[in-house]
């Protein structure tokens, strides 16, 4: 399709606006994290005195490093479990007819809609009794409850797109249902699997409410919660620089995840499977 110069200019303007809107806060945080303590409050975007002190500081403190490790473990474990269970459940929902199928799909959606805040209290009480309070599983379990519906919903949409013939062809070719699932269905649903994986990872990576309510020490506290506990040098200094540096550091894994998986999320992977 050909665009006139006017159309191009309009699109360029609109795109710039949207990108700027999204990226300015990120740039601001980045700039803050690189500023020397004395120039923190000067309000300029480009730091006048560059410094990596903030970064050195947060990595020196156990508080942040522990939280970072917790975050990675909690997010990865949640993602792995959600994808394995979610893809099987989504497959069943997409391919099988069983009583209560709609109810199950609806219920899983309803759970995802449930306001977290109303669950924090009860979970807190229960976790304290069963000894899951301030543990990593204590975070992973509620994260799964909220991310599974998301994964199931995304994945079943992808599974529905895969022609059933392919799976039957695999079975006739000598595959067990499990082999057909692993060697034919999953590779074809890869874009869906990665999309869901990213969504689940981001959800558990950035979750704050449960993280701060269900942890009390470095044992299980994740980065979003740990950030709130950052203190300045003395009680009179704001920990602005450290928080900014930590925020930049925790953004990096997300950016890496998206960059890696983006290459796998290519449309039209199923083109040519059946008569096109």
């Amino acid at each position: 399709m050909q665009h006139t110069g006017k159309e191009k200019a309009w699109w360029a303007g609109a795109n710039t606006l949207v990108i700027a809107f999204a990226i300015i806060p990120v740039l601001w945080i980045l700039s803050l994290s690189l500023k020397d303590r004395s120039t923190l409050g000067d309000g300029s975007v480009i730091p006048k005195k560059w410094s990596l002190d903030n970064y050195q500081e947060i990595f020196k403190a156990d508080e942040f490093v522990n939280a970072f490790v917790n975050s990675i473990i909690v997010a990865l474990v949640t993602t792995a479990i959600a994808i394995v269970i979610g893809s099987m459940a989504a497959y069943a929902l997409a391919r099988l007819e069983f009583p209560g199928k709609r109810l199950m799909l609806g219920a899983s959606l309803a759970i995802a809609m449930f306001p977290l805040i109303s669950l924090v209290g009860p979970i807190f009480d229960v976790w304290r009794r069963v000894g899951l309070f301030d543990t990593r599983p204590g975070l992973i379990i509620p994260y799964l409850a909220f991310s599974l519906p998301l994964a199931i919903y995304t994945l079943s949409a992808f599974f529905r797109e895969i022609p059933w013939d392919l799976e039957q062809a695999a079975q006739v070719d000598g595959a067990t249902p499990m082999q057909a699932f692993r060697k034919v269905i999953i590779p074809l649903a890869a874009p869906g699997v990665f999309t869901s994986a990213i969504l689940v990872f981001i959800f558990s990576w950035q979750e704050f409410l449960l993280a701060i309510s269900l942890t009390s020490t470095d044992n299980a506290r994740t980065v979003p919660a740990a950030l709130a506990f950052f203190t300045g040098e003395s009680q009179f200094t704001q920990p602005t620089g450290s928080i900014a540096a930590a925020a930049v550091v925790v953004t990096v894994p997300i950016v890496i995840m998206v960059l890696i998986f983006q290459r796998r999320i290519v449309a039209g992977l199923t083109a040519g499977a059946v008569k096109g």
Binding site: P163, D165, L166, Q168, A169, A170, Q171, V172, D173, G174, A175, T176, Q179, K183, V184, P187, L188, G268, L269, T270, A271, G272, A273, V274, K275, G276
Partner: protein, 423 residues
Amino acid sequence: MAEIQFDHVTKRYGDGFEAVKDMNLEIADGEFLILVGPSGCGKSTALRMVAGLEDITDGELRIGGEVVNEKAPKDRDIAMVFQSYALYPHMTVRENMAFPLKLAGVDKGEADRRVTEAAKVLDLEQHLDRKPANLSGGQRQRVAMGRAIVRDPKAFLMDEPLSNLDAKLRVQMRAEVSRLQTSLGTTTVYVTHDQTEAMTLGDRVAVMRAGILQQVDTPKVLYERPANLFVAGFIGSPSMNFFTGHVEGDRLRLPFGDVPLADHHRKALEQEGLRGDIIVGMRPEHFEDAALIGDQESQGVTFDAPIEVTESMGSEIYAYFSYEGGEVASEELQELAADAGAADLPSSGGSQAVARLNPESDVCHGQTTRLWVDASRMHLFHPQDGHALRADGDGAPAAPSGRFAREHEREAQEREPEERPAM
């Protein structure tokens, strides 16, 4: 390689719908059998039961003498070509073809050798490292065939494998499939809704309708001795013309004139004890321009036909003519016509018939031409259940299982018991 036997096989769905009813069929080792019928007749379901993709509700299915009802598809050692080809889009042509071998645990060298060999047979050698998305329709179809033949299975199952190709390619691939099957000698069951494909490909053709096997025989026999109205109307293109005839003594009154009954027709009617109205079927090629028939005139009848449409094919002319009265108004036949997709054709309007004439004929649309029809070659059918009336009696009952005929008899009896002729 193995024979396949359907032994009273029935497929009933949860809602009570019977897709395949009490099917009995033996497919010999190495035979090329075509399952043909209009859409929804149960032919694909029958094929998928052989593959193990559909459960069998009742009866036994045997492959190579072994009951396979409860066997998973992978344990049946059959290969299937799907209508959609069902190629694995994330694998190259080579990987697609090697997939069944890999699953069977064939070692890499042997698998490579067999894939290369199959690729050579199917002329796919230069495409082995491409993905299915980059192939043309015909190439994809060949890859699907290749995936089936590399394994040397007990049987090939093909579910309308050519219906996604354009007309010219389909004719080419038809010859290709036939050549492959002959050279491999593997038992093959081939499903199609295209009667031309059925007639040209198979050793035997099984015609199905509404889940019931109507007739199983060689293409020649199906064409020349159809067991019932349905087979008669389904096989042949353009399809057979049907009229209502009235038997009066030695003569048969047709909409366009009286014809003398040939001996074998009279005998058949006597055996059935039928008088009065019967259904008469005439193939288009049994009509001819009266000016071109020479001395055969006495075998048939000549009549004036108002020609509505002509289609000149070069080697022949199809002339559509209308006639008054004698339309076959039977509900069954109308349903049959609709089933066969013939409802859209002008000839099924009931009052229009088609004749295949010699190209030398000077027939012209909008004019009345004198046509002749060979009365000795007409087909007679029972007015109620539609089975063919033949002196040697093998026209009846309609379906091998006899259920088609029985069901329609029952319907007929319920409708008009007092008019039921003695059989």
